[in-house]
Symmetry: C2
Subunit: 337 residues, 2 copies
């Protein structure tokens, strides 16, 4: 098999507020022959993640901004098509940071060989067994230290991170309350994932009241993916000594001008709350333990995974934009070939 | 000496927004003779503290609400005038929770005998060596773990808590930036207390810009006494892995309806900030170490203390109200006799 062309999505203008298709362009270019020490990789799956919105800003968010007029990047899974390096053979599966490109040539040491537990579940290494899964594992277990019997509230609870948080919390003996944006997602969480109560924030009316009803004993842990009203409701509902793992605040990402925060932050003092912001890349040392635990839980049937798969690089931008209106159910994946 | 009357300040109506003198009344009553196991105490000094505003609300803040029509309470220092208990002798100095009363009869085990390091510095046991000092000590040292060379930002920096935070941080080798509401307070901090830079938030214009200028290397720790704009400016100025000890948010205490919070909370994630709310009463186990360290620092001249002393129970309400307009310079004390 010979690949001579690469197609890649470029950011061409920086979005103000919600991005649109006009901010992006697909550019085709010739693929060079791999030199010594390089490989040619055909990407099979790429990830679209909310954090990528931060990279589209001019200023530094927690991730470096994407440059304009060059391929964007992010997590992907591919297979080696040609190798000029002894460490990789044709057919090897590799994780890489060259999402948004269908094929690429790169130094062999910029990709990581993967030995998947199941060749039919490759895309799970972009979700439950990948960066979003590790985010859930680290944020919940390391930063909030859940104890059996405690109540955990999870926003964006059916998402790539949230659904994993919910199920690890159940494995650890917690009561779990989730918030999602559709009844279908709510039903999946309660019926398939063992979540105790789920709020549809789009239809529940007063979110704080809905949370108080779903968690009459109060909450002890909040896994923060959303911000805004969700953070305010969580603070209102916290028991003393509550902990927040602050993973993201998707509600705020597309604000053209920043919206004010919750009006009840004083409760951080009175309830002695701890809020810990984190970025998963600081915690890659936990990857081996994470993969061991998670693979076991999946194989034992304790951890359900769910993906929304969009086909083709041409639809990758639309898949990304869909993250902000909840079009994904579980991890959003783009299948590239 | 015989005391037969007690005067005490009662809360008679709950304030909406900023309290006024009309919310309080001074009530005189007969003092009973102490029974066996009881003492008669004449209070010498009482404390007024911002947290007392929380007790004036109907709902529970972190402190139980004051009841209407009975004496309020809080930290005070008195001397034993009559004793019917072997544990206390006439003339003993005792700390007690009967602020807002000039004289009182109570069970001996509800007061704590104090052996002061200096009889002329009794009031310091309500400030630098008392609850506010312990608040500073615990919040800074235990919760934010300052390292030499780090930059610490302190709001309400000349107050009872803030000035102690500033000086402990200097003792620990940190660079310290304070925020205060007058140039006189700023001068005291820089000239007497060794604080590196002080912002007058009333005259500086854009607080975030002023903080960025005062801390060009960014801040690593924020000791939060104020909330609102101060919290927002601190978040903007934080370096990665910054820590916030959330002690209070005085700017918000008299809001009749709660004001929205900072619009930059997403930086908690990106900068991996940790916010820890706390109440000093959870940390009374640190009192012995605190008193040992602090007394030594004071005697070595490393820790300046400053008080504003108001005379007489009749002026106690005014002293309390003055806390919210910065009328205190250092710890606000009411001298009762």
């Amino acid at each position: 098999m010979s690949l001579t062309k690469s197609r890649a999505v470029h950011l061409i203008t920086r979005p103000e507020g919600m991005p649109t298709a006009e901010n992006f362009s697909i550019v085709e270019s010739d693929l060079p022959e791999p030199n010594d020490g390089e490989v040619l990789v055909q990407n099979l799956y790429m990830s679209v993640d909310p954090y990528m919105r931060g990279r589209m800003r001019e200023g530094k968010s927690y991730a470096e901004p994407y440059k304009l007029g060059v391929p964007m990047y992010g997590g992907a899974i591919g297979k080696v098509v040609e190798s000029k390096d002894d460490s990789l053979a044709v057919g090897d599966i590799v994780t890489n940071q060259r999402a948004w490109s269908d094929n690429f040539v790169a130094a062999a040491n910029t990709v990581v060989k993967l030995v998947p537990y199941d060749m039919d579940k490759l895309s799970s290494y972009l979700g439950t067994l990948g960066m979003p899964g590790l985010t859930a594992y680290v944020g919940l277990l390391k930063l909030t230290e859940p104890q059996a019997g405690e109540t955990v509230f999870v926003s964006a609870a059916s998402g790539a991170v949230g659904a994993t948080v919910c199920q690890i919390a159940k494995i650890k003996g917690c009561r779990v309350v989730g918030s999602v944006g559709s009844d279908e997602k709510a039903n999946w969480l309660t019926q398939q994932c063992g979540v105790d109560a789920v709020i549809n924030y789009k239809t529940c009316g007063d979110l704080a009241a809905a949370l108080a009803e779903a968690a009459p004993e109060g909450i002890d842990i909040y896994f923060e993916n959303v911000g805004g009203d969700h953070l305010q409701a969580a603070i209102d509902c916290f028991n003393a000594h509550g902990r927040i793992a602050a993973c993201g605040m998707i509600q705020t990402y597309n604000d053209a001008s920043p919206a004010p925060g919750p009006n009840n932050l004083m409760q951080i003092v009175g309830k002695k709350l701890r809020i810990q912001g984190f970025i998963v890349s600081d915690h890659f040392d936990m990857m081996p333990q994470f993969r061991t635990d998670m693979t076991q839980w999946i194989q034992q049937g304790k951890l359900q995974t769910r993906e929304t798969v969009v086909e083709g690089l041409d639809n990758a931008v639309e898949a990304f934009l869909g993250l902000f209106s909840g079009k994904n159910f579980g991890k959003m994946i783009v299948k590239l070939s």
